[in-house]
């Protein structure tokens, strides 16, 4: 039996320079998906769904970026729950996880994978 691997499409989103360290911005992908792009202090780029699962509002990109016990997180600006930037896992409620997207920087441009 074989498993079909979903095809990954890399969408160029913005100039890497448009991301400020330890901050997030929102981006609109084709088809209307909203992602929250974060650049952490070490230069890494992470992409999560922009949807705050607790409030239903598209706001995660506007949360404060930092760490909890070394785990890079964003805190929802609505009610402060923290999400692991790498996995989308909510650190305050283990039943909750937000969708993540692969992200990379190519020639100074940030690209996000859509499936």
């Amino acid at each position: 039996m074989t498993t079909a691997v979903d095809e990954q499409v890399w969408v160029p989103v913005c100039d890497y320079a448009a991301l400020e360290p330890e901050s997030g911005v929102a981006a609109l992908l084709p088809g209307g998906t909203q992602v929250a792009l974060f650049r952490t202090g070490d230069g890494a780029v992470h992409a999560l769904s922009n949807l705050d699962p607790f409030s239903g509002a598209m706001v995660l990109a506007r949360g404060i970026v930092g760490d909890r016990d070394g785990v890079p997180v964003v805190a929802s600006p609505m009610h402060k729950q923290a999400f692991d930037l790498r996995t989308g896992q909510c650190l305050d409620d283990d039943r909750v996880r937000v969708t993540t997207h692969a992200a990379r920087v190519v020639d100074g441009w940030v690209e996000v994978a859509v499936t």
């Binding site: 239903g56 930092g66 805190a75």
Partner: protein
């Protein structure tokens, strides 16, 4: 069969007796009739002086009313006679009440020396709420000088009241020093200097010969011929037990007065008991509440057939209020045979400490007593050690902090034996408190108070309760979060002193990790309070909560609301039109706020600059509704229009709002100004509230509405505008510098050691010598204020952040939609996807 207990006197001890009896008498053996002379139920007389904080008698209420069918309170009708044969008492109104058992809890009366003129109008005593009301009324009329006869514990409390009422106050004491019962000569000398620093003048070693009427009040003539002018005189020259009922019905009395009782608190008539200050246990009267409470417990036990006896009492005392530390405990005057005194005396810094120890060559000695003046921080621990062998040599226990590496408190709570009484007012031991923490799960001081009563009377053991919590492993950490071990106040000082201006540098040098949503906004706020430029400058952007980052308030659908400043709530029709047009053109839901301004809801991130361009062009500026900052200074219409107004409240509110606008603080700050005592602006719900008087302004601090509403307390009265502004400057800056994160002014004051009195000392009396610095910091804030929204509009780099999507700046967020309700747009909420079983989700609190 139910028997009747009659209690004469509903003071602190009578109240405790009834409570103790009702707690134990579950089968209802006793019906209790309490006959009280005062017009109100028992109140916290120990805290009487704090009545002047609010002039609100309900604040002195004692815990636990007697709401039960078996207790009847009859107040305002004193007992005038006891008939022991018929077993009845008669009251002034002629009512007769029979008893099976009788308890005398009539307390004491202030002793007024029988000098000529002692009963002239303008002469007062200091024992009841009515006494304080009368003094206050007279002080209002008499402005000028006040004289207190008696320089003991209560005399100094009375003097403090007169000082607070604005009188130039003199204290006359017969003995050669203040507080002669508690302190020795060396301590008295230091105490006198500390008291004189507070502008109280002190006349020791003289008696009062007469009080005479003068043209403009009274004149107090002293034994050395000195004549003191006095608008009013307060006698506080000791107390005498109110044993007159007992004498009249033939009960035995003590040699020096008081109803004579045995260790069971029983009088010479076995059906009659006496408790509290009126009782002379084996001939000795106690003028403190702790021994009285112990007697109440004894009698409650005896009435139910027990065999408890009076355990003796701790007569340690501590001067409350005044901001001068004085404490004395045990054999303070070293009268024990062979006692040795170990003294540390530093007249320059105003500190005197003495320990009295037994002369025992084999160990460090047994502690017999001591006197502490100027710094009584070790009082709570030391007094529990009385009668025990000292854990270390006495000299090091009173050495100044730092000298021996010791902290101010000398000996830690761990050194205390388990049965040491930590709270002597309520006789609570160290082991009982540990049990409350470990077994009953008390996690903070209020919980311990509720569970054990420790710390509820005079409060001097509260620091030890804190120490016990931490020694039991209950963390009372002041660390801001996992990234900073410091409290907010400590971080403030670090930033101020080191000049560090970026979060990165601060966390690298003084913290760890990368920061979080707790410490980042705190650091941003500290930087803003220190006036380091625009809040969206440099790395500060990434520190800000979303509200501060977009200078607007995020609402539940991710849109923002906009609040332009309307100082004092005063607005011209033309400006009102601008707001209306902006709201209409951008389709914003419009609502009037409680702070007398207008909130415009439903703006998306990308609309904010366009909205503000219109507002700024019309002369509006940021209202800081989004910030932990000064919000509004609300006002009533005041003397300009109102028939009752005595001052221009709108004018003052506008002036203050413009002065403090933009000031970032640990939490939001709200204020109000009312034009007269009718208080239409609700100023006493505010962090600082101002109420006009005929003479000037009264300043109240520490109020708030919200989850736990609290009325503000009076800080100063009848000050002119210039003084008022100066005091508000100091108050706000002191708050900004020293409060914890998200601590409103109310909890800040409550948590402060010394509370409102300490605050008053710092802000009004400048006891820390920082007033000039605080004022200068505020002056700098005022000079450097600039509108944050204008700052954004003028800077393309800042403006660029107000976009919906980094890759589609002009496209509005497609997830946001509205519907109509009562003619306005309200958000359509998206279904909440990710939370199994959760409805409304509360904010995560860490």
């Amino acid at each position: 069969m139910t028997r009747t207990l009659v209690v004469v006197g509903h003071g602190m001890v009578g109240h405790r007796l009834v409570q103790a009896l009702r707690d134990r008498d579950s089968s209802g053996v006793w019906r209790v009739v309490v006959l009280g002379e005062e017009p109100r139920a028992a109140y916290d007389r120990v805290a009487l002086s704090s009545y002047a904080d609010s002039w609100d008698a309900t604040r002195l209420a004692l815990d636990g009313g007697h709401n039960d069918d078996l207790v009847e309170l009859r107040l305002g009708d004193p007992v005038t006679a006891i008939d022991r044969t018929a077993r009845t008492v008669t009251t002034a109104s002629g009512r007769r009440q029979s008893y099976d058992a009788l308890v005398l809890a009539t307390g004491s009366r202030p002793f007024v020396p029988p000098v000529p003129g002692h009963d002239l109008p303008g002469c007062f005593t200091y024992r009841t709420i009515e006494d304080l009301d009368a003094i206050r009324a007279a002080a209002g009329a008499a402005a000028g000088d006040g004289v207190v006869v008696g320089g003991g514990l209560l005399g100094l409390e009375a003097a403090n009241l007169l000082r607070r009422l604005g009188l130039r106050t003199r204290v006359v004491e017969l003995a050669p020093r203040l507080m002669p019962l508690q302190v020795d000569e060396g301590g008295g000398a230091v105490l006198r200097r500390l008291v004189e620093r507070l502008d109280l003048s002190v006349h020791c070693g003289v008696s009062t010969r007469a009080v005479e009427s003068a043209v403009d009040g009274l004149r107090v003539v002293l034994s050395d011929g000195t004549e003191l002018a006095a608008g009013l005189v307060v006698f506080s020259a000791g107390v005498r037990p109110r044993d007159e009922l007992a004498r009249a019905c033939g009960l035995a009395v003590g040699e020096r007065g008081g109803v004579l009782v045995d260790l069971a608190c029983r009088t010479s008539d076995e059906r009659v008991y006496a408790v509290g200050e009126v009782a002379a246990v084996e001939g000795r009267c106690y003028g403190l509440v702790g021994p009285g409470y112990a007697m109440a417990e004894v009698v409650a036990d005896r009435l139910l057939g027990g065999s408890a006896t009076f355990p003796g009492a701790d007569t340690a005392t501590k001067l409350k209020l005044l901001g001068v530390d004085v404490a004395s405990f045990g054999d303070a005057h070293a009268v024990t045979e062979g006692a040795l005194e170990v003294v540390h005396n530093d007249p320059v810094s105003g500190c005197y400490k003495k320990l009295v120890v037994s002369d025992n060559p084999r160990d460090a000695g047994t502690l017999l007593g001591g006197v502490l003046v100027g710094d009584a921080s070790s009082y709570a621990t030391l007094r529990t050690l009385v009668g025990r062998t000292l854990p270390t040599d006495p000299g090091s226990l009173i050495a100044p902090a730092g000298a021996t590496g010791a902290t101010g408190s000398g000996v830690g709570v761990d050194a205390l034996p388990a049965d040491a009484q930590v709270c002597s007012c309520n006789a609570v031991t160290k082991s009982r408190i540990q049990e409350a923490i470990v077994v009953d799960g008390c996690a903070d001081v209020p919980a311990i108070k509720a569970c054990t009563r420790a710390g509820t009377a005079c409060g001097s053991c509260v620091p030890m309760l804190r120490q016990l919590l931490s020694s039991c492993g209950v963390e009372q950490s002041t660390a801001l979060c996992e990234h900073f071990p410091q409290s907010r106040a400590e971080l403030f000082e670090i930033v101020r002193a080191t000049g560090v201006r970026t979060f990165g540098e601060l966390v690298a040098r003084h913290g760890r990790g990368r920061g979080c949503d707790i410490c980042k906004p705190v650091v941003a706020s500290v930087l803003a309070s220190l006036g380091t430029g625009h809040v969206l400058q440099g790395d500060q952007v990434s520190l800000q909560d979303t509200n501060d980052r977009f200078l607007a308030n995020m609402q539940r659908n991710g849109t923002y609301s906009v609040v332009p400043r309307i100082p004092g709530g005063e607005i011209t029709p033309d400006r009102l039109l601008v707001i209306a047009e902006v709201a209409r053109d951008f389709g914003l839901y419009t609502k009037i706020t409680g702070g007398q301004r207008i909130d415009l809801f439903g703006a998306t991130v990308d609309q904010l600059p366009a909205i503000w361009r219109r507002l700024v062009d019309a002369g509006f500026e940021s209202g800081h509704a989004y910030g932990k900052a000064l919000r509004t200074v609300k006002s009533c219409v005041g003397s300009t229009w109102c028939r009752y107004g005595v001052q221009d409240s709108v004018g003052l509110a506008i002036e203050l709002e413009l002065r403090y606008r933009g000031l970032r603080s640990p939490h939001k700050v709200k204020a109000a100004v009312s034009g007269c005592a009718r208080e239409c602006a609700e100023a006493r719900n505010k962090d600082f509230g101002i109420i006009a008087t005929e003479e000037g302004w009264n300043l109240y601090v520490g109020g708030n509405g919200g989850f736990r509403p609290r009325h503000a307390d009076l800080l100063v009265s009848d000050v002119d505008k210039e003084t008022l502004v100066r005091l508000v400057d100091r108050f706000l800056m002191f708050y900004v510098r020293t409060a914890d994160r998200l601590q409103r002014t109310s909890t800040w004051i409550e948590a402060m050691e010394g509370g409102l009195d300490h605050l008053r000392d710092v802000v009004v009396e400048d006891s820390l010598g920082i007033a000039a610095d605080l004022e200068a910091a505020m002056a700098e804030h005022v000079a450097n204020y600039a509108d944050e929204w204008r700052g954004v509009l003028e800077d393309p780099e800042k403006l660029a952040r107000f976009t919906s999507f980094v890759n589609a700046p002009g496209v509005p967020d497609p997830s946001i939609s509205f519907r109509a309700e009562r003619g306005q747009r309200v958000p359509v909420l998206l279904p909440v996807p990710g939370v199994p079983g959760a409805g409304e989700v509360a904010e995560v609190k860490r």
